[in-house]
């Protein structure tokens, strides 16, 4: 019997699934893009024989919104609002990487005030925990562990409350600005942060009890989706998928930025390379993140400037605008035409929750970026599905997608 249900019109650029000769128990199955376990709009054209996957072709692009193009047509200071929408689970990491690159082009990357850097590190690590909470919660749901979801989202909700206090918005605060952050941490923030730090250990112990030692989850994840270190490097994996294979590459350690070299933390590494190893690496990363947050918290008691005191980039304090003509002019210039960046190109990377997030930015000296290219870690991590799903059970594919933790705002941009 020949099945050709998928591949509607191969001649007109249809799917490249080889459907010519198929045996009786081989069929082509299209999973997604509306499948709940694909964590977004991923479609996988799967060729299965019985329950074994013989070929898998991920199709992306269902969430393409042209963010890179949009960023090229906005001011330097406006573009951060759209790049924050790429990885919508950790928007601050995107904004941080974008502004680190812009600051390098401006030549002010060494002048960021310490408090600005501390707040940036604090928010990056909080983003990491919040993002991993979503992965942990939804990944548990994929495997039938519903309870963990509520614990994780409760924890994330508290972090989003902190974001809302600092930047005014839960999801896309646009709080990081060129030369620092938009404003100082508000009153009451540190108290709420202390409360979060205090509850973290207990809550995390609950989550680990619920999920880590859960025999059903272990059965589903151990020895599923094994990646060797050679493959991980060849397929450009970064973040937890790479470190779960034994290659301890973490941008925060390898090329520290924003003062990460000052803080004590370890890079969690495992060598098994399977879904459970990725799971454990991420859990340990959350613990390392809170370790960094505790160190930053001690430094935050010292007040200081949070943004570079250069009114060519940072708007003057609001209260001076009504009193000083110069402040008013600077404010008007920044709002109406933003700042200009000297011509050149730069690549800057940060360690996002999903891996090395990079920005290749080109300026031609204008007040808008010429090119904003993102190195999307999820896209490269997801691509390895083409390899690791072959010969595995189709039910395990859901586990593999979950363990790679893709965010489709970033994959498709």
């Amino acid at each position: 019997m020949t099945t050709s249900s998928v591949a509607p019109d191969a001649a007109a650029g249809g799917y490249n699934v080889d459907v010519v000769e198929q045996s009786d128990n081989r069929m082509v199955l299209s999973m997604g893009p509306q499948h709940p376990s694909t964590h977004g709009v991923l479609q996988i054209i799967t060729e299965i024989e019985g329950e074994i996957v013989t070929k898998a072709i991920p199709e992306i692009g269902y969430l393409h919104t042209g963010i890179e193009k949009s960023a090229e047509n906005l001011f330097w200071s406006q573009a951060s609002t759209v790049v924050e929408r790429m990885d919508y689970l950790s928007p601050l990491t995107n904004a941080l990487c974008y502004y680190l690159a812009v600051e390098k082009l401006l030549g002010i990357d060494t002048q960021i005030p310490p408090r600005g850097q501390q707040i940036r590190v604090l928010l990056s690590e909080l983003s990491r925990i919040a993002s991993h909470c979503v992965w942990l919660g939804t990944g548990g749901i994929d495997l039938g562990a519903l309870t963990g979801f509520f614990y994780c989202f409760d924890m994330r909700e508290r972090i989003l409350d902190l974001f809302e206090m600092s930047g005014g918005a839960r999801m896309h605060p646009n709080y990081i600005r060129v030369g620092g952050v938009g404003q100082d941490l508000p009153q009451g923030f540190l108290g709420k942060l202390d409360a979060f730090i205090a509850m973290y250990d207990d809550r995390m112990r609950d989550v680990r009890r619920l999920l880590q030692k859960n025999p059903i989850l272990q059965d589903r994840m151990i020895d599923v989706g094994i990646i060797s270190p050679e493959d991980a490097v060849a397929w450009s994996l970064t973040g937890a998928p790479l470190r779960a294979t034994g290659v301890a590459y973490d941008v925060r350690k390898a090329m520290p930025y924003s003062g990460y070299e000052k803080y004590q933390f370890d890079v969690p590494v495992r060598t098994e390379g399977d879904a459970y190893a990725r799971f454990l690496v991420r859990l340990d990363e959350m613990d390392e993140a809170i370790r960094i947050i505790r160190q930053v918290r001690k430094e935050l008691d010292t007040p200081g400037p949070w943004q570079i005191p250069d009114t060519k980039f940072a708007p003057p304090p609001k209260e001076t605008i009504a009193l000083s003509m110069e402040a008013l002019i600077h404010h008007f210039k920044l709002v109406s035409e933003s700042f200009r960046v000297p011509p050149g190109d730069v690549y800057q990377a940060v360690e996002g929750p999903r891996g090395e997030l990079g920005y290749y930015i080109v300026s031609n000296g204008d007040n808008r970026p010429w090119r904003v290219r993102t190195r999307p870690p999820s896209m490269y991590n997801l691509q390895v599905l083409k390899k690791i799903t072959i010969g595995e059970l189709i039910a395990d594919m859901v586990v593999m997608i979950g363990s790679l933790d893709p965010v489709f705002g970033e994959v498709d941009r």
């Binding site: 007109a12 490249n16 692009g61 401006l106 002048q111 590459y249 200009r340 290749y360 000296g365 090119r371």
Partner: protein, 247 residues
């Protein structure tokens, strides 16, 4: 504090990568499409085992190569390695200039399997194709899409007949083009306004006696020199437009 910002040195720099400030972010190699395979193979055997990203850039007007295909490489041990062994890996950026009339680059998807989607994305958004790629088709845009969105000459809005209609007075260029997207010409608009003024609808219907006293028409326009709808239609709708005297 004095600003460290350099003066805007030529906002129209044709090739910003050539005038880049001294930033120590990566070693930079420039090649042509003919050399790219050999260069990347040498770098790969040199220990640059990870192809971090392939991106594109468009510099219209730059000669001879309009596009750049940008390869970001990382020198990473492809085996189990501790933080100390990884150390501070070296970065290399390979800029491959591509001509517009011969926008073909040899693929590296056989050297690094991860190049697959990245090359497809450049093909999709820049129209640079990669020879030898096993599956060269669009990835982000629909398969039947026309044009390459990330090129600088790609319009930011769709063609006029597909746009949401806008009132013609909202956009001067529409008026200048003669056929506004809404299909309503400036003359027709003036006529409509004049008609509305002629009716006793604006500013409440004033009674004729009071109108005669105040010397105003009900529409609010001055009596002296009030134009008829026909006169209004003949007036130049846009005073900024230059009259064509050559005809």
């Amino acid at each position: 504090m004095p600003s460290s910002q350099a003066p805007p040195a030529g906002a129209t720099a044709l090739d910003p990568t050539a005038v880049r400030p001294d930033i120590n972010d990566a070693r930079i190699v420039r090649v042509t499409p003919a050399e790219i395979r050999a260069t990347l193979e040498v770098l790969r055997s040199d220990g640059f085992s990870m192809l971090l990203d392939i991106g594109g850039a468009d510099y219209p007007g730059r000669e001879p190569a309009r596009f750049d295909v940008v390869y970001h490489l990382l020198k990473l041990p492809a085996r189990i390695a501790s933080v100390a062994e990884v150390g501070t890996p070296e970065r290399v950026r390979v800029l491959c200039g591509v001509r517009e009339d011969d926008a073909v680059v040899p693929t590296v998807s056989d050297l690094w399997p991860s190049a697959d989607w990245a090359e497809r994305e450049i093909f999709d958004l820049y129209g640079i194709s990669f020879s030898g790629h096993p599956d060269m088709r669009r990835i982000q845009m629909p398969d039947d899409w026309e044009g390459y969105p990330l090129r600088k000459d790609y319009p930011l809005r769709g063609p006029a007949n597909e746009r949401t209609p806008r009132p013609s007075f909202a956009l001067k260029s529409n008026v200048a083009a003669g056929t506004p997207a809404s299909g309503r010409t400036a003359a027709a608009l003036q006529k409509q306004i004049a008609q509305a003024r002629g009716r006793n609808e604006f500013h409440g219907a004033a009674d004729p006696a009071a109108t005669a006293q105040s010397g105003k028409t009900p529409g609010g326009a001055m009596t002296a020199g009030a134009a008829t709808p026909e006169q209004l239609a003949e007036r130049p709708h846009d005073l900024n437009l230059q009259k064509d005297d050559t005809k």
